[in-house]
């Protein structure tokens, strides 16, 4: 359960809106069943009081919205940043993707978000959800009220949270946390331990479910190209035909290469995938490799840092070593 409450956020949003600091608020809007929350732009106190919510299903990372929203806006927009969102925020600033002056950022602590897929695999017919200290009380169509522990339905990315520290904000609500020594690379290590054939079979099994909806790309805060190569009919790589074996694999691998060094490991790609493909593992493999080859690097930890792949130091790996590593790692 989140320590930061809806009321705290509403009070802050209304305060900043009414004193003229901001002219719009990027926030979470309630849905039909308490878990289907939509990111929304609020511009009046009334809208905020009627629709603004904050709970364990507010996982969406708002940083990318700032690219589009700040362009059209008169005045500043208020954005609430959970720790992992704040890394994306910094990374976008590093890439000059939005005007920092047009944003008022409020950092908020995060206790980890729930995964709606995990919840639905446990509970049928969710009518509404109550958040209590000892768990969620889910009112259902078939089984009355079901109690679910937060840990049981916590999103994978939150179980393996890399940092509870907000790295960017104008103002912080609640207490800041620390960078965590997480186990997020364990699953990558187990994939590395497979034989090449096993690993190929693993990825083929996962990626063959892809429907090329592009949700991973469209949600990804590192994917902010004005025109994606996959949206260009002249590029020879189509954006909507998934069945040729080349494309279903290459789309995701090309994307992973493109965001390498820029991916902050926010996990939005896997959250939004309608087929539950663990896409974040591709990005984590890159992060793990870069950490091992070039020293620890966390994209978005600070504004202006140079990712290992676009930086040169004398200690860099020699091409020969990379080649050898590839041979051994196959």
């Amino acid at each position: 359960m989140q320590k930061i409450t809806r009321d705290q956020l509403i009070t802050k949003a209304v305060e900043l809106l009414s004193n003229g600091t901001v002219s719009a608020v990027l926030g979470w809007k309630k849905g039909e069943f308490d878990y289907d929350i939509t990111p929304a732009v609020f511009t009046t106190e009334e809208e905020i009081n009627n629709g603004f919510v904050y709970n364990d299903f507010c996982g969406a990372n708002f940083s990318k919205y700032l690219v589009a929203k700040t362009k059209k806006l008169e005045g500043k927009i208020l954005v609430f940043l959970k720790p992992c969102d704040s890394y994306s925020f910094n990374q976008l600033l590093t890439e000059h993707r939005f005007d920092r002056e047009k944003v008022y950022a409020v950092g908020i602590g995060c206790e980890g978000m729930a995964d709606v897929v995990k919840l639905k695999n446990k509970v049928d017919g969710i009518v509404s959800i109550d958040y209590n200290d000892d768990g969620m009380y889910v009112d259902t169509l078939y089984d009355g009220t079901v109690k679910v522990d937060y840990a049981e339905v916590m999103a994978e990315r939150c179980i393996n949270c890399k940092s509870k520290k907000c790295v960017a904000y104008d103002e912080l609500l609640g207490e800041d946390g620390e960078v965590i020594d997480s186990a997020r690379f364990d699953e990558v290590a187990s994939l590395e331990a497979m034989t090449p054939d096993e690993r190929f079979a693993f990825w083929q099994g996962e990626l063959s479910r892809c429907i090329r909806c592009n949700a991973c790309r469209d949600a990804c805060p590192a994917c902010t190209c004005e025109k994606c190569v996959f949206d260009n009919p002249g590029s020879g790589v189509e954006n909507k035909a998934p069945v040729t074996s080349f494309e279903e694999q290459m789309f995701h691998i090309i994307r992973a290469f493109h965001v390498a060094g820029r991916c902050t490991d926010c996990g939005e790609c896997s959250r939004v995938c309608p087929q539950n493909i663990p896409l974040h593992l591709l990005n984590r493999k890159f992060i793990k490799d870069m950490n091992e080859c070039y020293g620890e690097y966390q994209a978005g930890a600070e504004v202006g840092s140079r990712a290992p792949l676009v930086d040169y130091t004398e200690g860099d790996l020699e091409p020969g070593e990379v080649f050898e590593r590839g041979e051994n790692d196959a």
Binding site: E32, I37, T38, G125, G205, R209, C213, K240, P274
Partner: protein
């Protein structure tokens, strides 16, 4: 009505599979379900619905249409169509069965899409009544009875048996072909199940949703509604809603250069995409708001206008479950219709 003991279910699948391919919902490793071919050992999923709808079996996501081979100045056009054989789609929910009617009106009206038509002719649809609808279900809004699904054969699954009723000649022939495995049965158990499910349907959170604000002739009234601006502002422009939708039917036709010829294929397209219906002069829907409006106006206004009031949504709830930002047709209908 015929009755098949669930103990004989595998024998039944095996008997049908001797002459026809059967597609049925099976569980995937992540807990969701998909339609797959039955083979010895395949388990029928208990899932309420599959992530991808059974429309794939009539209108696959990509499909080769024809091939051109060039030699010097000669072009040979090759019809690469494979003649379809009879197949069975088993366990189709009432909403998805209704979606076939929506697709039929597009693909089977002149000019008839012969690829779609051939598969449709060869398919036998065994539809399954719902017993545990989800909170995201709203088929009743579109006049669909989840307890009495259409299809060539309607089926009801109880704890011990599968009840089967033929609705068409194809369905009768199908039941005849498996007669040895089934027995005559009265409708008592099925009636009891239907009554029970109907009670649940009434209690669903979306049971009161109506289409009153929509239908043919509403274009001018709804076109400039400020709702489109408001609700589309965080739409990612991905194609999830359109690709999991059982009634979305837009496609693109493209040519693939093979080096010594061309394969012409078609693939699903999405009105959410920036390249959708792009023409020589450019794109006719430049903003996400316009694309967003197109999707809902098509389902709730344009389609019914051209199809005697039939809406091109069947209330299956897939988009409700899968949209990355949880924006969906229900939210749009409630916002425009005044929370009804």
């Amino acid at each position: 009505m015929r009755k098949l003991s669930l103990d004989n279910l595998n024998k039944f699948f095996a008997a049908v599979a001797e002459s026809k391919t059967i597609y049925l919902p099976v569980d995937q490793k992540d807990g969701s379900a998909k339609y797959a071919k039955w083979a010895e050992g395949t388990e029928w999923s208990n899932a309420l619905n599959t992530v991808r709808s059974p429309k794939d079996l009539f209108f696959p996501q990509t499909e080769d249409l024809m091939e051109f081979k060039t030699e010097g100045k000669n072009i040979e056009i090759i019809d690469i169509r494979k003649e379809s054989e009879d197949f069975v789609i088993f366990g189709v929910r009432a909403c998805d069965v209704k979606s076939f009617e929506v697709l039929d009106r597009v693909f089977l009206s002149e000019p008839v899409d012969s690829f779609y038509a051939s598969r449709r002719e060869h398919a036998i649809i065994v539809a399954l009544a719902c017993t545990r609808p989800s909170e995201t279900c709203f088929c009743t809004t579109f006049g669909i009875d989840a307890t009495e699904p259409a299809g060539d054969v309607s089926a009801w699954k109880t704890d011990s048996a599968l009840y089967l009723k033929a609705n068409t000649e194809k369905g009768e022939a199908f039941l005849k072909s498996i007669e040895a495995l089934t027995e005559d049965a009265d409708t008592a158990e099925v009636d009891a199940q239907k009554t029970k499910t109907a009670e649940i349907m009434k209690k669903l959170p979306l049971a009161d949703l109506t289409t009153d604000a929509f239908g043919g002739g509403k274009t001018e009234e709804l076109w400039n509604n400020p709702v489109w601006d408001e609700m589309s502002q965080t739409c990612l422009g991905c194609g999830t809603c359109t690709f999991v939708c059982p009634t979305c039917q837009c496609y693109d036709i493209k040519d693939f250069n093979t080096g010594n010829g061309v394969i012409r294929y078609r693939c699903w397209d999405s009105c959410m995409y920036s390249e959708f219906t792009r023409m020589a002069h450019g794109n006719n829907r430049l903003s996400q708001k316009e694309r967003f409006r197109q999707r809902f106006m098509h389902k709730l206004v344009y389609y019914p206008e051209n199809n005697e009031g039939l809406f091109s949504c069947v209330g299956c709830g897939r988009c409700l479950a899968k949209c990355p930002i949880s924006m969906n047709i229900v939210k749009v209908m409630k916002k425009i219709g005044g929370d009804k």
